[in-house]
Symmetry: C2
Subunit: 365 residues, 2 copies
Amino acid sequence: MARFYSVIPAGGIGSRLWPLSRASAPKFLHDLTGSGQTLLQDTWDRLEPLSGSDRIVVVTGVAHKTAVVEQCADLSKSNLFLEPSPKDSTAAIALAAAILMKREPDVIIGSFAADHVITDNKEFSDSVKEAVAVAATGKIVTIGIEPTEPSVGFGYIKAGEKMDLDFAKHARHVDKFVEKPDIERARKYVNSGKYLWNAGMFIAPAALLLQVLSETEPELHGKITELAAAWGTAAEHQAFEIIWPSLKKIAIDYSVAEPAAAQGLVAVVPAKFGWHDVGDFAAIAELQSGGKRNHLAVLGEVQVLADKSNGILISETGRLVALIGLEDVIVVDTADALLVTTKAHAQRVKNLVDSLKSTGHSDVL
Amino acid sequence: MARFYSVIPAGGIGSRLWPLSRASAPKFLHDLTGSGQTLLQDTWDRLEPLSGSDRIVVVTGVAHKTAVVEQCADLSKSNLFLEPSPKDSTAAIALAAAILMKREPDVIIGSFAADHVITDNKEFSDSVKEAVAVAATGKIVTIGIEPTEPSVGFGYIKAGEKMDLDFAKHARHVDKFVEKPDIERARKYVNSGKYLWNAGMFIAPAALLLQVLSETEPELHGKITELAAAWGTAAEHQAFEIIWPSLKKIAIDYSVAEPAAAQGLVAVVPAKFGWHDVGDFAAIAELQSGGKRNHLAVLGEVQVLADKSNGILISETGRLVALIGLEDVIVVDTADALLVTTKAHAQRVKNLVDSLKSTGHSDVL
């Protein structure tokens, strides 16, 4: 674990969580679990025991610098990597890998989204430790979540043979990654027992990750290498101004994970912890109700009068909210926008955000 | 019509219209039709051609003096009767009758609620004129609404024989008034063709109305007489301070209309106009949608993004409101309170207000 560095890419607005989640206050800056702290802080607290607080990097947009610094009091200044504009996950993770490799050539990085919810921190910790041990053998290791339902909202990992390592009892080879399936295919995946949810967690030697990238996306790799070289020097500002805008936007799944899997370079540690990407309000409601039926979850300091209503209420306004006779309702009450819908329509919030964009309502996005 | 005086009792909060309607801003001070003016102003505009603006009296609570004066620009100062506290309809109407009788002993008053919606002002006007003509023969005349459905929300009037008057072709004797029925009874009433909705409109010589009251509620009648005698004199202030708080709260239906009907003193003019008491948000939604299905009615200056939603949205905050996949929804968005319910539960808003009262939330009532 001495080689391990945690990397938290803190990006992504979370359109399906509008109007709570905004460009100015994306999902990771919100408390969606009622834990009393934000998802970013929860992520920090999970990783701190694994890498130590001086070995956690946060990669985020310049717009979120203040909020991130405020929320992560122990984040060292040299471990905050600011992106001038969003360029998807490859740029964020590869930049972190390249900068950290300058510091420690044999560094193993683990990349964990800032806006997922994980229960059982002990189990998470055990899985990461096992993944780091496997990564040290020269693998890109992902943590795969045992599916609890045939979700069409996640990509899947097809696990192969056990690796049969003394220090990694659960690790398996990865046959391949597969895209978000339709429901029929998702059922097949789950029934087969061979597929795991892809939670986007990657643990790998930085050198290996960058080597794969140099093969699959040589131009992007070259630019990232230039940026990392300029990092912390007098040339940094100019390099970012010139190079950053030209970076290709591509998810790390396509640039590294899938090609590496095809080369037999990827392993998976099946997770034994509860995980959710809380992608929409229905997911938050599920999470909050903990399986209780007819439960109204409430997030925010709000006076609620609920009469035969269940679902979720999120309020940031402090207004009195009265709900009568509503089934599976979603009410999100913010200072300048109000959303009312139902769990069944939670995914359609994204379309609504798209239509706000196209009709020039960027003031509320 | 020269004997005619319009009286508008402007009282009643309209609990089922919370949080729009409040003690400080009751139903009659709102635009619930999208006409661009309040229900009180609509009422004024209907009556002004009948009695002239100098013969319209408004009886309202002291708390609403400013709003009423503002909204009724032509209301003469001497025609604004202020109630120190709400004492139900008998006190309001009898006080107006007694004061107006002091001015003109043979005055005929017509009492019309400030918060009902009437379509077809011409038809309304014709009905009132006929009612005044019948009242002049020594009757208390009500205007009965032809029921369009077996409503359980209104009281009914059982009409008797035609009066056979040359100048009042539609007027009938009234057999009796009946309370709000259950649905089975309501269906029988409607199918019989003999029952009309009681819309609470009474047209009568002030002297006759007060004479009936003197028989049924002699104490209340005595106190009202005292108050009217003091009205406009140096004794007014003290009389209201001492006597008003002790007035019996009783609806004019019980104190005058029903006993008078039993004496054969009541007539009814069946109405040929559209009428609604817009008692709850479902009624407003119906009114606004004008029978169109899948219609989302919107009241207030609000930006709405509605995706497969119907019902009613009333907003006073100017916030963006997004509704997705909601059937028959009711959303009422005010500065300090938000209500979300459905048409089917519109009546339960009253219970909610009751529970707000009992839990000390008078700040939002």
